[in-house]
C-alpha cells in the first residue's frame, strides 16, 4: 500500500514537472498558433542560468528565484527578435526557424559554459526525507517539486480563468483580430504570454537539474514528451495539459514500476526483464495513439 503511494507520488512529481514545460508550449501553440520547437532550449537555459546564479549567490533558493526573471527576459528577447516574425508564417517556416534556435542555443551554451555538463546540488535543507505518512519516507526535494509545481498550476489556473490578462489571452485565442480591433495591444499580450511560457520552462529546467544534471540538449528529449502531453490534452488547453501531464507521469511510473511484474505472470522472468524496458518506453506513445483515435483533438481540445 505504502509502495503504491510512493510510486503514485513519483508519478505526480514527474507529471507536475512535465506540466510546467507543457503549459508554456500549449499556450504558444494554441493561443499564438506558433509551433515552438525551441521550448526545450528555454528549459535548458533556465537550468544553466540557475547554475550560474546559484554559484554567485551561494544559495539554491536565491539563485533559483533570480533565474526566473532572467528566463522571462530571455523569453521576451527571443520573442521580439525571432518569434514575432513567425506569427504570420505557416507552421513549416516556424518549425525550421525554431529548430535553428535549438542549434543556436546548444552552441551558445557550449561557448559560454563549455561542453561538459554541470551539476546542481540539492539544497542542504531539502537533502533529507520527509515522512508523508508515519513510517513512509519520501525525498524532501521531490516533495518540494510537488509543492511548487502544484502552486504554479493553481496560480496559472487563476491567472487564465480569473484575471483580466487571462481573459485577454482566452479572447486572443479565439479571435486575434477582433481583440486587436477593440484596442487591445495584442503584440504586447503575445510577448507576455511567451515570456510566461519561458519562465515555466525555465522553472521546470532548474527544478529538474538536481535530479538529472545540467547538460547541452537536456531539453530536446523532454520536449518530445511535452508535445505528446499537449496533443493528448488538446492543443491550447491548460486544463488538458495538466490532466495529460498527470496521466503521462503515472503511465511512466507504471511502465517502470509495475510492468515487469505484470509481464512475469505470463512470460519467463528473463523475457519479462528484457521486454519491459522496451514496452515501458513506447507505452506513452501507445496511449497517445489511443486517445487520438478516440478524440482526434485531444481530451480537452476544441472540436472543429
Amino acid at each position: 500500500m505504502e509502495y503504491l503511494l510512493l510510486q503514485m507520488l513519483n508519478g505526480v512529481q514527474l507529471g507536475l514537472l512535465m506540466f510546467l514545460l507543457a503549459a508554456g508550449l500549449t499556450l504558444t501553440f494554441g493561443i499564438m498558433d506558433l509551433v515552438n520547437l525551441a521550448h526545450g532550449s528555454l528549459y535548458m537555459m533556465g537550468a544553466y542560468i540557475a547554475w550560474t546564479l546559484i554559484g554567485w549567490t551561494d544559495s539554491f533558493v536565491l539563485g533559483a528565484l533570480l533565474a526566473l526573471p532572467a528566463t522571462f527576459l530571455l523569453g521576451i528577447v527571443v520573442e521580439a527578435i525571432v518569434m514575432r516574425r513567425l506569427y504570420a508564417r505557416d507552421h513549416l517556416d516556424q518549425v525550421l526557424a525554431t529548430f535553428g534556435l535549438i542549434l543556436f542555443f546548444n552552441e551558445l551554451v557550449r561557448v559560454i559554459w563549455g561542453p561538459a555538463g554541470k551539476s546542481i546540488a540539492v539544497p542542504a535543507f531539502l537533502n533529507r526525507t520527509v515522512e508523508i505518512l508515519p513510517g513512509v519516507p519520501y525525498p524532501a526535494y521531490r516533495f518540494a517539486i510537488i509543492v511548487v509545481g502544484a502552486l504554479v498550476a493553481v496560480l496559472l489556473a487563476w491567472l487564465v480563468a480569473r484575471t483580466r490578462i487571462g481573459m485577454l489571452i482566452r479572447a486572443g485565442a479565439s479571435n486575434r483580430r477582433m481583440i486587436g480591433a477593440l484596442g487591445v495591444n495584442i503584440e504586447l499580450l503575445f510577448t507576455l504570454v511567451f515570456g510566461l511560457g519561458a519562465v515555466f520552462a525555465g522553472l521546470a529546467g532548474l527544478m529538474a537539474a538536481p535530479i538529472t544534471s545540467v547538460k547541452i540538449g537536456m531539453g530536446d528529449d523532454i520536449l518530445i514528451l511535452a508535445f505528446v502531453i499537449i496533443v493528448i490534452g488538446g492543443i491550447g488547453s491548460i486544463k488538458g495539459a495538466f490532466v495529460a501531464a498527470m496521466v503521462v507521469g503515472q503511465i511512466d511510473i507504471v511502465g517502470r514500476a509495475f510492468l515487469p511484474d505484470l509481464l512475469k505472470t505470463f512470460l519467463s522472468a528473463s523475457a519479462a526483464a528484457s521486454a519491459s524496458p522496451a514496452i515501458s518506453q513506447v507505452l506513452i506513445y501507445v496511449v497517445m495513439a489511443g486517445v487520438l483515435v478516440w478524440r482526434p483533438t485531444g481530451l480537452f481540445g476544441q472540436r472543429s
Binding site: 510510486q7 513519483n10 537533502n127 526525507t129 525525498p139 524532501a140 538529472t212 517502470r256
Partner: protein, 392 residues
C-alpha cells in the same frame, strides 16, 4: 667531430629527400572518447592520461615521433562510427584507441578492424560479443570484458554471505553484460532487476521505491559517470543509505567522487586497477597525474595510458617500422610492457588475463575522496567468453 656530424646530417638530409614519406611520417594514433556533454569528464581524464603517456615516452616510440588525433563520439554510437571512419580513411591512422562505451565500440568495430584493416585498442569498453564470436585479430583490449568486474564483485558478496541482491543497470550492451556477470558468481537470491532507459533516464525514483519495498540485503549497480553521481544522490535522498548497502561497478571512481563526496564513503566496488596498486610505474603515473592536475586519475585514464604503452612496446620491438601488420599484432599480443596494474598476459581473444580487486571509497590524509584496495577478489581472471572465440 664537427665534420662527422656534418656528414651524418648530409646523409640524413639526402635520405630524407629520397624517401620523405618514410622518414617524416610520424606514427598516428586516433583516440575516440566522449569530450562533450554530461560524460565529458571521462574523456578529459583519458586525454590527460594519454598526454602523460606521451610525455613519459618523450614523444617518441621506436625512435619515431607520434601524434594523437582526438575525436569526440558525443556519447552516440552513430557519431562514434563516423569519427572512426574519418580516422581510418581520411587520417589514415596506424591505430585507433579509446572507446568508453560498449555500444559505441560495437557500432565502430567493423569500420576499423575489417573495412580499415586497422588495429583497435579498446581502452575501456569490453562487450561480450567481441570477446566471443566477434573476436578479431585487429582487436586488443587494455581493459576487461564487461562481465569480469561484476563477476569479481559477485564473488566477493557471495563469500561475504550476502543473501539477496537488487540489480540495476543502464539498458544497453554493457549494462546487460554487467548484470549477466554478477549473476554468474553471486548465487544468492536476486529479488529484483531493472534495466533503465539509457542514457536518457537519470531519475531513479520509481526504481528506488521498488527497492525499498523489496528489502534486499544489498543493491548492485552499474551506472558510469554522470549517471553514478545522480544515482548515489537519489539513493541517499531516498533514505536508503544505512538501510540497504550499495555495491557498485564503474559507478564510483575518481571522475565521480569529486561530486559524490562524502555520500560515497564506505561504498565497496570492484576494479582491475586502483590508484594505490604497488607497481613502480603506477606510483609514478599517479604522482605525476596528481601533480599536474590536482586530482586522482581514474581507471579510464590508467587503461588509456596502458593503451599507448602497449602500442609503444610494439613500436619499440619493431624499431618504429609498422608496415608489417602481422608483426605488429604478434608484438602486441606479447603484452611486453609495464602495465600500471602490474603486468598482464593476453588470452586467445586478446583480452587481458588479470586480477580484480575490491576497493572502498575513503578519504586520503589530505581529506580528498579516493579509492583504497581492501582485498583481491579474483586472481588471473579470464573472461567467460574466450572459448567461443575462433582465434587460438
Amino acid at each position: 667531430m664537427k665534420t662527422r656530424l656534418f656528414g651524418t646530417t648530409t646523409i640524413a638530409a639526402a635520405l630524407a629527400l629520397a624517401a620523405p614519406a618514410l622518414a617524416q611520417t610520424p606514427i598516428k594514433i586516433g583516440f575516440i572518447s566522449t569530450f562533450s556533454g554530461s560524460q565529458a569528464a571521462i574523456g578529459e581524464d583519458m586525454r590527460r592520461s594519454v598526454e602523460l603517456a606521451k610525455e613519459h615516452l618523450g614523444g617518441k616510440m621506436g625512435g619515431k615521433p607520434f601524434e594523437i588525433i582526438y575525436e569526440d563520439d558525443q556519447f552516440k554510437p552513430d557519431v562514434g562510427k563516423q569519427k572512426s571512419e574519418k580516422l581510418v580513411q581520411q587520417d589514415k591512422v596506424n591505430f585507433v584507441a579509446g572507446y568508453i562505451w560498449s555500444n559505441v565500440l560495437l557500432a565502430s568495430l567493423k569500420t576499423v578492424t575489417d573495412e580499415g584493416d586497422t588495429i583497435l585498442i579498446s581502452s575501456n569498453a569490453g562487450p561480450s560479443q567481441i570477446a566471443g564470436a566477434l573476436c578479431n585479430k585487429n582487436f586488443f583490449s587494455t581493459s576487461w570484458q564487461n562481465d569480469q568486474t561484476p563477476m569479481a564483485m559477485g564473488q566477493y558478496l557471495q563469500e561475504k554471505g550476502v543473501k539477496s541482491l537488487y540489480l540495476m543497470a543502464g539498458n544497453y550492451a554493457a549494462g546487460k553484460d554487467m548484470l549477466a556477470g554478477v549473476k554468474r558468481t553471486f548465487k544468492g537470491k536476486i529479488v529484483g532487476e531493472d534495466l533503465t532507459k539509457w542514457p536518457d533516464q537519470l531519475d531513479f525514483s520509481a526504481e528506488l521505491a521498488k527497492i525499498r519495498a523489496a528489502k534486499p540485503d544489498g543493491i548492485f549497480i552499474f551506472y558510469p559517470g554522470a549517471h553514478g553521481v545522480q544515482f548515489l544522490q537519489q539513493y541517499v535522498q531516498a533514505g536508503l543509505k544505512g538501510q540497504v548497502p550499495l555495491y557498485q561497478v564503474f559507478s564510483i571512481d575518481a571522475i565521480t567522487l569529486p561530486q559524490q563526496k562524502e555520500l560515497a564513503l564506505g561504498t565497496l566496488g570492484a576494479q582491475e586497477w586502483v590508484n594505490d596498486l604497488p607497481s613502480e610505474q603506477n606510483k609514478k603515473y599517479v604522482a605525476d597525474f596528481k601533480k599536474k592536475h590536482g586530482v586522482y586519475p581514474s581507471f579510464y585514464g590508467a587503461q588509456s595510458y596502458d593503451s599507448i604503452m602497449l602500442i609503444a612496446s610494439a613500436a619499440e620491438a619493431l624499431k618504429g617500422d609498422l608496415s608489417n601488420k602481422d608483426k605488429v599484432r604478434a608484438e602486441m599480443k606479447k603484452a611486453n610492457f609495464k602495465s600500471l596494474r602490474g603486468g598482464f598476459k593476453y588470452n586467445t581473444n586478446q583480452f587481458p588475463i588479470q586480477n580484480f580487486y575490491i576497493q572502498e571509497a575513503v578519504k586520503d590524509p589530505q581529506g580528498m575522496m579516493t579509492l583504497k584496495t581492501i582485498a583481491t577478489a579474483v586472481k588471473d581472471g579470464k573472461d567467460p567468453y574466450y572459448e567461443k572465440c575462433p582465434m587460438k
